[in-house]
């Protein structure tokens, strides 16, 4: 985790610099009121916080990495603590690839909903996520779950809230 923290700190530093010198000046228009505080004031404040804290995170993590490498006993203790805290798997290439898959499936389903409507897109969303989950319920279970959940939500939207779904 310490190494990823070093990278994270650098990322926030660079992200802050991009925001401060490019994105905020180009995307935040200056207001006409002369006595008012600049619209860039608050975004700049948040960005300066990141520019300051990013390198601090990297430095503290780098220092901790050095301390851990000189003390193997402490290293073991930290790893044990990390496991006890119930941290999820670390971010690796495989997980990122799967994340792209999930987001792709979700976006594709959203596109289908926008084109073909909720009644067609929603069951496909449920079925695709059941497949991503292993699809252990079988085809009948999938169709039933997709049909029932879509129907319940559709009826609630129309019957209770009187809001049309796409």
């Amino acid at each position: 985790m310490q190494r990823s923290n070093i990278v994270l700190g650098i990322f926030f530093f660079l992200f802050g610099l991009i925001l401060y010198f490019w994105l905020i000046p180009s995307q935040v228009e200056m207001g006409e009121a002369t006595d008012a505080l600049s619209p860039r004031f608050f975004p700049n404040m948040a960005t300066i916080g990141m520019i300051f804290l990013g390198p601090l995170l990297s430095f503290l993590s780098w220092r901790q990495t050095r301390q851990l490498s000189t003390s193997p006993e402490q290293n073991g203790k930290t790893k044990k603590q990390s496991n006890q805290n119930g941290n999820t798997d670390p971010l690796n290439l495989k997980n990122v690839a799967y994340l792209f898959l999930y987001v792709g499936v979700l976006s594709a389903n959203l596109f289908i909903i926008s084109i073909a409507g909720f009644m067609i897109g929603a069951p496909l969303t449920v079925i695709s996520f059941m497949l991503l989950n292993g699809g252990k319920t079988g085809p009948i279970g999938m169709v039933l779950t997709a049909g029932i959940s879509t129907a319940v939500i559709y009826m609630m939207a129309w019957g209770v809230f009187e809001i049309p779904l796409p």
Partner: protein, 497 residues
């Protein structure tokens, strides 16, 4: 006084009671699903409240908060998998007792303790909120800005694994709130010429994306690694194994009271959380017990200690929220969002402008406790079944619920797109150990912080030395870096040990 009676009476209207009951049922159901925390239950329930009165809406969401507190104990007791972080300590004695063939006894003790803790903290809230609000009314924008600064710093210092990372998450949340129109000059900020962004990122999309969608991604990842194991518990026959007698409950009175005290105290301070209260109460109960070795083997006192403490946090969390407009945790932050959606600004003025709503809310809270007890008792078997539903059914349904919830709330598919994007951000933040709590609190408090800072700068006439005329604000501003430094030093000391 008339307003107070009117408020209490309106809380007892059938519609309000129905919504509170629905909230409690939803809370217990969602809280019982492993990994789905109370904030997620609230985020999912917010769109359901759009078409009802503010009292019924907030009453329902408070019902969700209370119900999910007990719901978390169901999976903790039956599957050794806490539904919420606050219920982690409940697994210590709840699960061993269930394994002994007494799952219903364990669940009933958790329910009674939860309702006891909840009621105690509600009483404290009712008694102290008015005096606190009276003091808060005397505070100006400068004092409120200083209080918000120290609160967010305190939350950031205590919530995450690292103070620096938590502060970074809070700054990220603050930055995202600046998307949209500038509150003073109405200039567009970081809108990329997209009309949908002129009103900022919709809070429902941000909250549901960060909490629910990110959780679904994490659960999908877990389902790839291993299949969820269902634990079968064989229940012993005999009434004594299925219920908690009054004698047994009375024997835990000191532990229950201590737990409620810990929960109320910790809940009233922003950022400390129910999990801390539960563990502190458990440790204190063990220390005070004549038989400390029995803790962890299925002792009723262990369940009483943790559940009374983590539930007491719920009511106490509303003390800073209602009196100062400061949320103590993510669930309270989402409640602020719900208040705003219904055109209500939580804070000291609420007590003078909408006393009927405040007292109606207090009455709804007490009713929610009664409903929690009743529904919990009646539906114990049904709610326990939620735990055994296959993940393959639960998580796809949640995805659909999130999509339709955000669409119903915002009326545009763009907001659903924002939800997906925030889901990715939430997933990455969790992977990198950045605190989602701090991000959400930063995002929710952002507009208020910006407004009070702007007002303060104008009031001080751009002269920093004028702060000396505001001793309270000065004290808070000076205390902020000291508090952060002290907590960082304390964390470092703990790591060395």
């Amino acid at each position: 006084m008339e307003q107070v009676f009117f408020g209490i009476l309106s809380a007892f209207q059938f519609t309000n009671l129905l919504f509170v009951a629905a909230g409690v049922a939803i809370g217990i159901g969602i809280g019982a699903i492993p990994g789905l925390a109370p904030p997620l239950a609230i985020a999912v329930a917010i769109p359901l409240t759009f078409s009802v009165s503010p009292l019924a809406a907030i009453g329902m969401l408070i019902g969700v908060m209370k119900g999910s507190g007990f719901g978390g104990a169901i999976s903790a007791t039956l599957l050794n998998t806490p539904g919420t972080a606050a219920a982690v300590a409940t697994t210590l004695d709840g699960y061993p007792l269930a394994q002994k063939g007494k799952p219903r006894k364990a669940l009933k003790m958790a329910l009674y303790s939860s309702v006891f803790g909840d009621t105690c903290s509600d009483m404290v809230l009712i008694l102290v909120s008015v005096p606190i609000a009276a003091v808060a009314l005397k505070m100006g924008p400068i004092e409120i800005a200083s209080l918000l600064t120290i609160s967010i710093s305190l939350i950031a210092s205590l919530a995450g694994e690292s103070v620096t990372k938590s502060l970074l998450a809070a700054f990220l949340g603050l930055l995202l709130t600046t998307i949209g129109m500038d509150p003073e000059t109405a200039s567009p900020r970081m809108t990329f010429d997209l009309l949908e962004l002129y009103n900022g990122l919709p809070i429902s999309a941000v909250a549901i994306g960060m909490l629910a969608i990110a959780e679904v991604f994490i659960q999908l990842e877990k389902s790839r690694e291993k299949s969820a194991s269902d634990v079968l518990i064989e229940e012993l026959s005999g009434v004594e194994n299925k219920r908690v007698s009054f004698k047994e409950f009375w024997a835990c009175r000191k532990t229950l009271a201590r737990g409620a005290l810990f929960g109320t105290g910790i809940g009233a301070l922003p950022g400390l959380g129910a999990a801390l209260a539960a563990f502190m109460s458990y440790a204190a109960a063990r220390q005070a017990s004549d038989k400390p070795d029995e803790f962890g083997t299925g002792k009723l006192e262990g369940i009483a200690a943790t559940e009374s403490a983590n539930s007491a946090v719920v009511g106490a969390n509303l003390i800073p929220l209602l009196t100062l407009g400061i949320p103590g945790n993510v669930a309270a932050a989402l409640l602020i969002g719900a208040f705003t959606i219904h055109g209500i600004q939580p804070g000291p003025l609420l007590f003078t402008n909408r006393p009927n709503l405040v007292y109606g809310l207090f009455a709804s809270m007490i009713m929610a406790n009664v409903m929690n007890l009743t529904l919990g008792n009646i539906g114990l078997r049904v709610f326990a079944k939620v735990v055994s539903l296959p993940r393959q059914i639960i998580y796809p349904s949640i995805v659909l619920l999130c999509i339709s919830g955000v669409y119903l709330a915002e009326g545009s598919l763009f907001a659903v797109g924002v939800m997906i994007a925030m889901g990715v951000v939430g997933y990455l933040m969790r992977k990198l150990g950045l605190s989602i709590v701090c991000f959400i609190i930063g995002y929710v408090l952002g507009p208020m912080i910006e407004l009070t800072y702007r007002q303060s700068i104008l009031l001080l006439r751009y002269n920093p030395s004028a702060i000396f005329q505001h001793p309270f604000a000065l004290l808070m501003f000076v205390a902020t870096p000291i508090v952060i430094w002290r907590i960082m030093a304390s964390n470092k000391k703990k790591q060395r040990q």
